[in-house]
């Protein structure tokens, strides 16, 4: 996302990636049927390239997860995930430092 709320190609690819991962995992664990995945794919493909802003992207993900519940984890805000990753990295760094001290 750039400063104007536009969706960058990088973000779009990231969303595609996540959607694919959720879809494939859901297909494999049986929470999404092959037919549901087809229907979801049509909707995703028809929508995702025409989303003009981050608000639209969020709204799209909300709609997606309302229709197919397996996509609900995608509603987790992006920054929360980044913070979590950052926290995990910090903890790891501290652990390494402690290890070096001992």
């Amino acid at each position: 996302m750039d400063s104007n709320g536009q969706i960058t190609e990088e973000l779009k690819n990231k969303v595609y990636n996540k959607i694919m991962d959720v879809m494939l995992t859901s297909l494999e664990n049986g929470t999404l049927t092959a037919e549901e995945s087809e229907d979801a794919s049509y909707f995703i493909l028809e929508m995702i390239d025409s989303l003009p802003s981050k608000n639209h992207l969020d709204a799209f993900l909300e709609e997606l997860s309302e229709r197919w519940e397996c996509f609900k984890p995608l509603l987790q805000p992006q920054h929360e995930e980044e913070l979590k990753a950052s926290d995990e990295q910090n903890i790891q760094n501290i652990k390494e430092e402690i290890n070096q001290l001992t």
Binding site: N13, M20, D21, E28, G30, A34, L45, E46, P73
Partner: protein, 685 residues
């Protein structure tokens, strides 16, 4: 927080690794349940995509396209399905489906080649395009199979009908729905009509019995017609047919001859037979006399001696006696004829006619005679029929087996009917799914507006946007449990009638509808009063406010009016469009006549239709103008001098609104080229 209890955990960093792990499709012992089947299919699909992902890790869109691909339904698939049907059912099914399967195959070929498509087209471009065009033309009338839409095209709008068919036919999603429907029918048929040797034996025997019965009916009809032509009375014919059914051909033939003789009006057959015997005796005697005369001549030419003389004398005597006997026989024969003629009052010609009729009747005793052959054949069929009836009866004494066979017959009927209705069913599901996606896309837009207003702290605008969405959700909401969009006909009917009522004075009815939903007064005076209430509560009037409060109220009113205008400019058309889309979908989904009457909560009076047409005329024109497909269709119709009636314009409008016909993401260059060729060819029919 979203409920993640059943949802898979996302690990973006593991995406690539996860794409490369080995996927094992689950297998199940015994008969697969529906749930197991779904899981296996889902697993197989995931496996295929992961394989693709490992080959093209960067091309994510391709992978999503792959998820939408449901494969094909080949002519071999149709053959295997037809083999489960009766020959007549199979013929009907093949007539309707074969051209469609060929068309689907060509469309699929053009669609799935993607990157290889240029090479493919380079080598076989002419063939692919020609085939696709030919098949599209020969695919038959899609809408013939869909009674709801068929009714809408009665009249002289075949040109528009062709365009609508084309829009539907070339939509990859429709093609997929049709393939899925055909596969579903095939799988269900193979499941229900799986091998059952005992049932098949009964079916075969019953079929043979039916065939023999049919043959027997034909043969009986032939015999009956021939006997009627010979004036044999009905009761005698019945008796002959009964004899045939007993299986005794000889007796049946003899009864037939007797009946024909009786019917011919021949009197005293025994007398005529005696006359024939007399004639025969005369002929025999004359032959014997001739032989004696030859012997006499020989004796006279030979060496004469006493023995010869004695022989000659003996032969002379014998010849004389024979001549006398012949005279007696002829006299007897003549007397018999005279007696007959005088007894039955006939002349010589009449007597000869009686003899001839008798000869003709008896000619059928010859095994090569056509009636004789027909009786022999019918007798043999009758025996086979008895045997088959016995076999069927024995097999049918098993009640459980009889029930199984009846069920299989019922399943065959259902299969045949499903094949005939496959196109209509696929169009129905396709429109339903297009409608679901259309509503979702509208939801995305309105949700985004609400978020934007929230982020900007525009409380009234955010709340009003939410209210508008909730009002539109009342027309129909997706139920994640049933996986279906559940339409509320009552609310749709109520809103559309409100729209018609609000449009009666020529104003923009949807603006009034939306204002009412968000509790905004369009009348400036009333709006002031409403603002006063919003500021100081119920019972407050604008005049009762202080000057400062009045100034604040005016400022607030100005802001609220601007907010309402923003809301309406962004979602007013969408409101109108979505309401009418819901209206049409609700009618399409539940009613036999797509644009007909007797629709209960969704019925409109003639005046309401007129008002809506005046409201939507411009909107429809705009939609037709803004859509490439719409423009092409309208241009083509104009060139042909055709002015589509309102109902059909509405239908075209709804298809364009739902995005039907848009080649979309699957439009590979080859598909686009093929569609172009097909469209050019298509405009000729």
């Amino acid at each position: 927080m979203p409920d993640t209890a059943t949802a898979p955990e996302i690990k973006p960093t593991e995406i690539l690794a996860s794409t490369q792990r080995e996927v094992q499709t689950p297998t199940f012992a015994g008969t697969e349940t529906e749930a197991q089947k779904k899981l296996r299919e889902a697993h197989e699909k995931a496996g295929k995509i992961r394989e693709l992902q490992s080959q093209h890790p960067e091309d994510l869109k391709k992978q999503l396209v792959e998820v939408t691909e449901v494969g094909s339904f080949s002519e071999q698939d149709l053959e295997s399905t037809k083999s489960l049907l009766s020959s007549e059912q199979a013929k009907t099914a093949a007539e309707g489906i074969t051209p469609l399967i060929k068309y689907l195959e060509a469309a699929r070929k053009a669609r799935i080649n993607r990157s290889e498509v240029a090479t493919e087209l380079g080598a076989n471009a002419d063939e692919i395009l020609k085939k696709t065009a030919e098949l599209l033309i020969t695919r038959g009338n899609l809408l013939e199979k869909f009674s709801d839409l068929k009714d809408a095209f009665e009249g002289n709008d075949n040109a528009l009908r062709g365009h609508v068919e084309d829009l539907i036919a070339r939509d990859p999603r429709f093609q997929n729905e049709l393939v899925k429907e055909l596969k579903r029918i095939r799988d269900e048929a193979h499941e229900n009509l799986r091998s059952d040797p005992q049932a098949e034996e009964l079916e075969r025997t019953k079929t043979e019995k039916g065939d023999v019965e049919e043959l027997q009916d034909q043969q009986t009809e032939i015999i009956k017609t021939q006997l009627e032509a010979r004036s044999v009375p009905a009761d005698r014919i019945d008796a002959i047919l009964k004899t045939i059914n007993t299986g005794d051909a000889g007796f049946a033939i003899s009864r037939t001859v007797d009946s024909i003789i009786d019917a011919s009006g021949i009197q005293n057959v025994s007398y005529l037979d005696a006359y024939r015997q007399d004639a025969s005796a005369v002929r025999t005697a004359e032959t014997e006399r001739t032989q004696l005369e030859q012997q006499l001549n020989q004796a006279r030419r030979g060496k004469q001696n006493p023995q010869t003389a004695e022989l000659i004398k003996s032969l002379d005597d014998q010849i004389l006696r024979k001549g006398s006997a012949i005279d007696d026989l002829k006299q007897k024969q003549g007397d018999r004829k005279n007696n007959y003629e005088s007894t039955f009052n006939v002349d010589d010609a009449g007597f000869e006619a009686q003899l001839q009729s008798l000869d003709e009747a008896r000619a059928m005793l010859n095994p090569e005679n056509s009636l004789n052959r027909a009786i022999q054949y019918a007798t043999s069929n009758g025996q086979r029929l008895k045997e088959l009836t016995r076999q069927v009866s024995t097999l049918e004494s098993n009640t459980e087996l009889t029930q199984r066979v009846a069920q299989r017959e019922n399943d065959r009927e259902k299969l045949s009917s499903a094949l005939e209705n496959a196109v209509g069913t696929a169009i129905g599901r396709f429109l339903e799914k297009k409608y679901d996606d259309y509503v979702s896309s509208q939801n995305v837009l309105i949700r985004a507006s609400e978020k934007e207003a929230e982020k900007k702290g525009e409380k009234w605008l955010a709340e009003s946007t939410k209210k508008l969405k909730e009002a539109m959700d009342k027309w129909g909401k997706f139920n994640p449990k049933t996986r279906k969009m559940e339409l509320d006909r009552g609310n749709i009917g109520k809103s559309i009638r409100e729209l018609a009522a609000n449009s009666a004075t020529g104003e923009d009815g949807s603006r009034k509808n939306v204002a009412k939903i968000v509790n905004f007064e369009l009348d400036p005076e009333k709006a002031r009063e409403q603002i006063a209430i919003d500021i100081k509560g119920e019972g407050t009037t604008f005049d009762s406010l202080t000057d400062i409060e009045k100034a604040n109220a005016e400022a607030l009113l100005k802001k609220r009016t601007a907010d309402f205008e923003k809301l309406y400019s962004e979602h007013g058309v969408s409101y109108k469009e979505r309401l009418t889309a819901a209206f049409f979908e609700a009618r399409r989904a539940h009613d036999i006549n797509f644009l007909g009457k007797n629709l209960g909560e969704l019925s409109l009076t003639g005046d309401e239709w007129k008002i809506l047409d005046s409201q939507f005329g411009l909107l429809i024109e705009q939609k037709l103008q803004s859509s490439k497909d719409g423009q092409k269709v309208m241009q083509d119709l104009r060139e042909r001098g055709i002015v589509p009636d309102k109902k059909l314009k509405w239908l075209l409008w709804i298809l364009l609104t739902l995005g039907v016909g848009a080649a979309g993401f699957v439009a590979a260059p080859a598909a686009a080229a093929a569609i172009g060729a097909v469209k050019s060819a298509g405009s000729a029919f």
